[in-house]
């Protein structure tokens, strides 16, 4: 395995970092792809007073409160070879359990609520009169979404994306249940730390823990810097700051 030589005769395996980056980025992309239209749909339906919205929102929040192993177990059943989904994926040559796609899906489902919450608040905070003004000018719904609603909800959406990425980086239980700990493929840093502790490699565990903390902090800082007028406001997304201009 490729290792990074550092002082004090310690070596830090790079593979778990690469695996983590690949899985977290994939999961974040999946979360945004699914979560963005979902947040918009729920926000619009909520405005119209649709009664099913609170139930769906509660279900979507479930991954936040379920024990990761329970969530992982459900996913294992859902994506395993004995399920229609898992069987279909297997036949297509892309098994979903103990594989990178499985790890991405597991991390994405665990991270989805953290994206949805700030994104929903941000979409709720977009003045419906502004959107209606665009429609009255003749703008199609695609324009209303991409050019009006999304830029106005950008702060909440970016906050959600950053939180989802951070959650995907740190996911342990769900990923372990669904994707196992295959070195170089599904063994993320979080799992590598666990295994290092189990093996009594305290120094490796410490280094991995410090490194992943630094990595996560850097990601959050980069996200903050990328936001105009950034500061820590993105992490306190609410109706007011989601709507407020920078």
């Amino acid at each position: 395995m490729e290792t990074l030589r550092i002082p004090l005769s310690l070596s830090l395996p790079l593979a778990p970092f690469l695996v983590t980056a690949r899985i977290a980025l994939g999961a974040t992309m999946l979360v945004v792809l699914v979560g963005l239209p979902l947040a918009r749909l729920l926000s619009r339906a909520g405005r119209r007073g649709a009664r099913w919205v609170p139930t769906i929102e509660t279900l979507l929040l479930l991954p936040l409160v379920l024990p990761p192993t329970t969530l992982g177990y459900f996913l294992l059943v859902l994506l395993g070879r004995r399920s229609p989904v898992g069987e279909l994926a297997f036949r297509l040559g892309m098994p979903l359990v103990f594989s990178v796609p499985g790890a991405v899906i597991a991390a994405a489902i665990a991270a989805l609520p953290l994206f949805l919450q700030p994104a929903l608040v941000a979409f709720d905070a977009v003045d419906p009169a502004v959107e209606q003004a665009a429609r009255l000018l003749g703008a199609p719904e695609r324009f209303v979404f991409f050019r009006i609603a999304l830029p106005l909800a950008a702060r909440g959406v970016v906050a959600g994306t950053v939180l989802a990425f951070a959650r995907a980086v740190g996911d342990f239980g769900t990923t372990l249940m669904v994707a196992g700990a295959i070195p170089g493929r599904t063994e993320t840093v979080a799992i590598a730390i666990y295994e290092a502790v189990q093996a009594g490699e305290d120094r490796s565990a410490l280094l991995l823990a410090l490194s992943v903390s630094l990595f996560s902090l850097s990601a959050l800082a980069a996200a903050r810097l990328s936001l105009r007028g950034g500061r820590s406001r993105i992490f306190r997304s609410n109706r007011t700051n989601a709507q407020a201009p920078s």
Binding site: G138, R147, P151
Partner: protein, 359 residues
């Protein structure tokens, strides 16, 4: 424009049940809060769909529940100037205009942006972000944005709401100027009768979701069961004065006693309060009023305890309005055809619009 609609819409305990067949360039909808004015506008704009009935503009069906026709807001070509600031806050004024022009109604007469921007005094605001405008500026930008979209009909929902008197005059001037420059019909929703009288040819008065009365604004609004005299304060005569070669102003053939003005605008808008116009039958005499215009009474209307007298002044295209007491009407013997002189001070002329004619 021909308005032909018959709609029923229920929302909880409130029901709007309106039938209207009218033809007017400017239609005003008046009524107290909760009368159904904004709901009426929403049915025209497509924000709400009636439970039953139909809406036709100039013979074209926007909604007909019995036929299953319901055009989306995008398909209607109806503009709205909302009482709240509904500009795109993250875009500049110019970008707001770009959106309006991008989706402008094909085939409709083009409204030149430059001329509109100049007429409404918006040139300096073009690079500003829309969320940084004052109330009066935002309302003027909303008006311009709606018109650049070339709507077939423009809805004005309480366009003076939340504006103080100088800003109200600024926006009023903008509306008058736009009405002069385009042929687009307007529907004005207001709870202030004076605005309906000043701007509309036809008015419908709503109460509890139903039409209380419809017709000529002054006659409808003077009826005690519609609004009553206490609501009729603030009636004005609105007019456009021409800029003469010597930079002085004239209304029709009558010169206005104002200072010469600067600028290149060919006309300036003014409001003259009905309470500021004094009538005399003694002919022109020496008074401190700078304007003493002879004319004839063309209408005397009872406004509760007061009377509104309209005077056709020689050489002026529209009647002057004066609010007087019933005793004055009796003592002066005012009736249709009575020769009178209308007197008002130069200071009573209130300049409208962003540039003002005199200031």
């Amino acid at each position: 424009m021909k308005f032909d609609l018959s709609v029923v819409l229920s929302r909880g305990r409130f029901t709007l049940d309106v039938s209207l067949a009218a033809e007017a360039r400017t239609l005003a909808v008046v009524g107290a809060s909760g009368a159904g004015k904004s709901t009426f506008l929403s049915l025209l704009s497509g924000a709400l769909v009636p439970d039953a009935g139909s809406v036709r503009l100039e013979g074209e069906t926007l909604v007909d529940r019995s036929l299953g026709i319901c055009l989306t807001p995008q398909q209607r070509g109806v503009g709205l100037v909302s009482q709240s600031n509904d500009l795109f806050p993250h875009l500049s004024v110019a970008q707001n205009f770009d959106v309006a022009e991008r989706f402008a109604r094909a085939g409709a007469p083009v409204v030149p942006r430059d001329a509109l921007v100049n007429a409404l005094g918006l040139r300096a605001l073009l690079p500003e972000r829309a969320d940084r405008l004052s109330g009066g500026e935002a309302r003027r930008v909303q008006l311009a944005r709606s018109l650049l979209n070339r709507p077939r009909l423009l809805l004005l929902d309480e366009p003076f709401a939340g504006l103080d008197e100088p800003l109200r005059h600024e926006v009023l001037g903008a509306i008058l100027e736009l009405r002069e420059r385009t042929s687009i019909p307007f529907v004005l929703v207001t709870h202030r009768p004076a605005e309906a009288i000043a701007l509309a040819e036809h008015v419908i008065a709503l109460s509890g979701g139903r039409v209380l009365a419809a017709g000529d604004p002054l006659e409808v609004l003077a009826r005690p069961e519609v609004l009553g005299a206490r609501h009729l304060a603030g009636i004005e005569t609105l007019f456009a004065a021409r800029l003469l070669p010597d930079r002085t102003l004239a209304w029709g053939e009558r010169g206005l006693a104002t200072d010469p003005v600067s600028g290149t605008q060919e006309r300036a808008w003014f409001a003259l309060g009905a309470d500021d116009v004094v009538l005399t039958t003694a002919g022109e005499s020496v008074t401190s009023a700078r304007h003493a215009w002879p004319g004839r009474v063309v209408r005397v209307l009872a406004l509760g305890d007061d009377r509104l007298v309209e005077v056709a002044v020689d050489g002026v295209p529209a009647p002057l309005r004066s609010r007087v007491s019933p005793q004055a009407v009796h003592e002066l013997g005012l009736q249709i055809g009575t020769p009178v002189t209308a007197l008002f001070k130069a200071a009573s002329l209130r300049s409208l619009g962003p540039r003002g004619g005199v200031s």
